[in-house]
Each structure stands twice: as structure tokens, then as C-alpha cells.
């Protein structure tokens, strides 16, 4: 597998990452060498093999129950907001035409 400049730009869009021309060129070269390395996996016959699952001893699913956090934690969460209006998170307008 080999990546072209356009592929890297598309991936950067999917990942919501702004890349400079230099970064795009570097990424193209470096991703290529990493992909060449991991491509060795393609040669392994896995026709009869199941994908690895979670270890069986894990506690697994639990009920999704609401648990409140204390006031100190609430205030810390709010204070981490880049922008807020009293107890609410303020974000840029979301109703715009998607780029892709």
C-alpha cells in the first residue's frame, strides 16, 4: 500500500487536522514507510481465525446508571470549558454546510 498526497489530505480532513504543505509532504513519506512495514501482516493466512476479543475475565457490561459528581468536580469540569456562559458550554455555530 502506498499513499499519495491527495490521500493524506483526505485523511487529514477525516481526522479534522489542519496540515501545512510541509507536514503533508512529511506525512506522505513517513506513513508510507510505516505502511510498508505493517504490510507484512497481509502475508499471514488468517482464513480460519477469529479477530481477538476482550479477555473473558473482565467484569464486562454494567448498567449505565446516572451518578452525580460533587460540587468541586462540577466546578472543575465547567472551568475547563474553553468558553462558557454560566453553567453552559459555549461552542461555535454547528449548523453550517459540512466541508466534505
Amino acid at each position: 500500500m502506498s499513499l499519495k498526497r491527495e490521500d493524506v489530505k483526505h485523511l487529514a480532513d477525516l481526522a479534522r487536522l489542519e496540515l501545512s504543505e510541509d507536514e503533508t509532504r512529511m506525512a506522505e513519506k513517513e506513513l508510507d514507510s510505516i505502511l510498508k512495514y505493517v504490510d507484512r501482516l497481509q502475508k499471514i493466512d488468517t482464513a480460519e481465525v477469529e479477530p481477538y476479543a476482550m479477555p473473558s475475565k473482565s467484569t464486562g457490561w454494567r448498567k449505565d446508571e446516572f451518578s452525580a459528581c460533587d460540587e468541586a468536580a462540577t466546578e472543575l469540569i465547567l472551568s475547563n470549558f474553553p468558553e462558557r456562559e454560566s453553567g453552559l458550554l459555549s461552542v461555535p455555530p454547528v449548523f453550517e454546510t459540512p466541508k466534505k
Binding site: 477469529e50 479477530p51 467484569t59 472551568s79 475547563n80 468558553e83
Partner: protein
């Protein structure tokens, strides 16, 4: 006579018990060491001097009352900066979290506090734990305590350097592909990655959730066991924590009857001469302790690194999508929505992190998901099976921890693949979820060499008893 900051847990506990020394004394000795070395080595990102002394003072008061909380009460410990400590900054080595304040404690932080440990501060790390040298920290590289021109390893390089230079008695790190064991090997300390599921990761900044595990970096095996006893256990906040018998440390003097396997795949090419010399000597030592040494075959083990460099970036790309400039961290202002995301991430994240996000995005994208992600998950099954059948014949697998000793700053930053190869012996334990520990086994040209012991799932008791017997043997051996 050792300084107080150089003590092991056992030594410190004995002095605290005798009343000759207080927790405040030990904490002050650590803070003094940090003050004198941190400027040169860049080990701690933050030090909580006042809070640490207050915590030490409370511990001393408890001890006077006969109400000690446990074996860690009053002992100064450092946290890697991807572990949440309520009300304190948690940057995870990234600029995007420069002003992030942890709203709660990680489960391991809570357990340390409940055990009376004195938390000294936060240690430096590669950004979001992605790296093998600590050079990818947004806050500057940490320097190796023995040679400031070299790296301490990574990503828990700050924690390893802190323990090696006695800035603390022990530290916590996290290990996704070798991030506890490789820096432990480089710095000459003990580093343990527990079985996947042994320790809760709630409150650990996630890198690759199917592989991440928190563990201790300590001055000896006994201290690692003490910390694991405290940290382990089921946690409703981490569904992967296992319902499993608790780990209890056992001691043994020799290794009679212990079967040690040396995977042919690991002991082939790719080990530097110095590392080979010391680790091969260590095998002779294990043999003279009574262990049976056999060469074993671990089919697909050499594919662990490739599996890791597919699965890990996939999970990274998903886990790090939360750093979008919306709910916390850096936000670039006055841009439309898409550009706010893209610019905030571009400004807040470093080169290595971006590289892994792009790689993961690729491996999960339409048309490539089956060929990369699913194929890697299938090979992971084959690797797990290989370990399963190996552990039917043997008790412990031994390999070098890293192919080299500590390298020079800047030596590997230009070639990502070269840096990734640092993980070649350590990733297998993450891919299969096995417990593994790195121990110092010698020095080459003044730099420590690490030996890795890998145990069967949830058999940290056996793993650490074998490692402990080896450690005692090495300590008794006359120095040449």
C-alpha cells in the same frame, strides 16, 4: 549510609516504625533532590511541595496515633502526568491540555491517597504516551540521570528518571507498548506492566484502550509487588478490570523447578552487543539459580510490532478525537466549526501524535478496515494462542527489554520506524495482555541494561517471585 530519598519502601518503613525518621523527613529529602536536579533533567512537570509536606505531616500524626493506613503510608511517590489528580494540572505531555485541571482523581490516585502515600508531583512523558524517549513531550525532553546527553526512554521517562535519581521512592507509569519497561531498563530501575485487567485505568488519559495498563516503577521487585497489591482490583469505572484472585507477593530463594523459555524469535538478530552480553550472562545466572532454560518457538511473535502499529494508531485516532477544542483544552477562536476543530488540533497536538492519528484514520477508513484493522486483530489471536501454548510448557519467558541501551537525544527522532523498533521486545506482552517486568541486569559502558520477564496471565505472583530471586542473586554477586 543511604540518604532518605534513596530508600526502598521496606527500608523507609523500618525507619518510620522505629520513630527515628518521619515521613516529613523523607518527603523533604525527595523535595531537596528534586530542587537540585530537576532544572538539569526536566523530570517533573509539577511539584506539589506544600501539599506533599502536609500529607507527610498527616501521615506522621497517624503513625503516632497507631493508625497507619498501610504499607505505603507516608512514602513519597510520583505520578506520570497522564494520571488524574483532582484539582491539579494534567497535561499528558501535550500543549492541547496545557491548562487542563483534573476534575477528579484516577482510581489509582484515590487508592494511593487512601493508602496514605505522599504524592510529590507529576512526571514528564512523551505526548499522550506516544514515544520511546520522552523527546516528544511538549514541555521538553527529560534527560537521562547518568548522562544528560541521552534519553531516559519513554514514554514514562520522567517516572523512570525520577526513581533512578531518587527524587521519589517510587512512581507510577503507564504501558501501552513498553512505556514502563523500556524506560525502566534505560534508567536501571524495576518497571512492571501488570496483566491487562489487573489495574483500573479510570482516570488515565487514554491512548490505546485495549492495550493501556498502569503500573509501578520502583527501586526493587518487592516495592513493585507492594504497589501492585494496592493498585489492583475490580473497578466499576473500568469494565476491563478482571474478576480474578488478588495478587499476593510470594518470595523464593532459588529457581529450582522453574522452567524459563527463551523465544527463538527474540534472541536472534537486532540486539546490540552490549545488551546481548549482559542479558546472556543473566541467563547463566538464572540457570545457576536452578532454573531450567529452554529455547522455545513463539510463532507470530515477530509480528507483534506490526500488529501493534496498526491497532494502536486506530485506537489513538478514536480516543484523541475528544481533543477537538470544544469541551476542554485549547480552542482556536473565531473560526467556522470545521476550522475550529482542525486548527485547535493542529496547534495543540505534536507531530508524532498527528502521525499516529493519520495512520489510524487510514487503517479504519472505508476499503482498508478489513485489510488492516481486522487482519491485525486476527493476527493478535494467533499471537495470543502462541503464548498460550508456550505457557503450557514453561513458567516464564525471558528476553532483553530493549534492543539498545539509552540512546543520544535526537538520535531517533528523524526516523519514526527506528523509534518504533525500540518496542520490539515489549509490545508482545501488550498485544497478548500478559504481565511483564523489566529488571536491571548489568551495565554497558556505564548505561543500564534491562532484562524482561514475561509471566502467564494473572500470574504476577510467580512472575515477581522469579524476578525477585534473580534480583537478590545479582545483588549478592561481587561486583567486577
Amino acid at each position: 549510609m543511604k540518604s532518605l530519598n534513596e530508600l526502598t519502601f521496606t527500608e523507609a518503613r523500618r525507619l518510620l516504625k522505629s520513630g527515628d525518621v518521619s515521613s516529613v523527613d523523607v518527603t523533604k529529602a525527595c523535595l531537596k533532590q528534586i530542587a537540585s536536579l530537576n532544572g538539569a533533567l526536566n523530570v517533573f512537570l509539577e511539584v506539589y511541595e506544600d501539599e506533599a509536606l502536609e500529607a507527610a505531616d498527616r501521615s506522621d500524626a497517624r503513625r503516632l496515633d497507631g493508625k497507619t493506613l498501610g504499607p505505603l503510608d507516608g512514602l513519597p511517590i510520583a505520578l506520570k502526568d497522564n494520571i488524574l489528580y483532582q484539582g491539579r494540572r494534567c497535561t499528558s505531555g501535550s500543549k492541547i491540555l496545557e491548562s487542563y485541571i483534573a476534575p477528579c482523581d484516577a482510581t489509582v490516585t484515590r487508592k494511593l491517597k487512601e493508602g496514605g502515600a505522599v504524592i510529590l508531583g507529576k512526571t514528564n512523558m512523551d505526548e499522550f504516551a506516544m514515544g520511546s524517549s520522552t523527546e516528544y513531550s511538549a514541555y521538553g525532553a527529560t534527560k537521562h540521570p547518568r548522562d544528560p546527553e541521552r534519553v531516559p526512554g519513554g514514554s514514562s521517562g520522567g517516572s523512570a528518571a525520577a526513581v533512578a535519581s531518587s527524587m521519589c521512592l517510587a512512581a507510577l507509569g503507564s504501558d501501552t507498548g513498553g512505556s514502563i519497561r523500556q524506560p525502566a531498563a534505560f534508567c536501571g530501575v524495576v518497571g512492571l506492566k501488570p496483566t491487562y485487567g489487573r489495574v483500573s485505568r479510570s482516570g488515565l488519559v487514554a491512548m490505546a484502550s485495549s492495550l493501556d495498563q498502569i503500573g509501578p516503577l520502583t527501586k526493587n521487585v518487592e516495592d513493585a509487588a507492594t504497589l501492585l497489591e494496592l493498585l489492583q482490583g475490580v473497578d466499576s469505572a473500568d469494565q476491563t478490570t478482571a474478576i480474578e484472585e488478588d495478587f499476593t507477593a510470594i518470595e523464593r530463594e532459588d529457581l529450582k523447578g522453574v522452567k524459563i523459555g527463551l523465544p527463538r524469535q527474540a534472541w536472534g538478530n537486532g540486539i546490540s552487543d552490549g545488551v546481548r552480553e549482559d542479558t546472556e550472562q543473566a541467563i547463566k545466572d538464572l540457570e545457576s539459580l536452578g532454573a531450567t532454560i529452554t529455547e522455545i518457538d513463539l510463532p507470530f511473535a515477530e509480528e507483534s510490532l506490526a500488529v501493534y502499529y496498526v491497532l494502536m494508531p486506530c485506537e489513538v485516532s478514536a480516543n484523541l478525537s475528544r481533543f477537538d477544542g470544544m469541551r476542554y483544552g485549547l480552542r482556536m477562536q473565531n473560526l467556522p466549526l470545521f476550522e475550529t476543530y482542525a486548527a485547535s488540533r493542529a496547534h495543540g497536538l505534536g507531530t508524532e501524535v498527528k502521525r499516529r492519528i493519520l495512520l489510524g484514520t487510514f487503517a479504519l477508513s472505508r476499503g482498508y478496515y478489513d485489510a488492516y484493522y481486522v487482519q491485525a486483530k486476527k493476527v493478535q489471536t494467533l499471537i495470543k494462542r502462541a503464548y498460550e501454548s508456550a505457557f503450557q510448557e514453561i513458567d516464564i519467558i525471558v528476553t532483553p527489554t530493549a534492543p539498545t541501551t539509552a540512546f543520544k537525544i535526537g538520535e531517533k527522532t528523524n526516523d519514526p520506524l527506528e523509534m518504533y523498533l525500540e518496542d520490539i521486545f515489549t509490545v508482545g506482552a501488550n498485544v497478548a495482555g500478559l504481565p511483564a517486568v523489566s529488571l536491571p541486569c548489568g551495565n554497558h559502558e556505564g548505561l543500564p541494561v534491562g532484562l524482561q520477564f514475561i509471566g502467564n496471565w494473572f500470574r504476577e505472583d510467580k512472575l515477581l517471585s522469579v524476578a525477585g530471586a534473580y534480583e537478590k542473586f545479582v545483588a549478592m554477586r561481587p561486583r567486577i
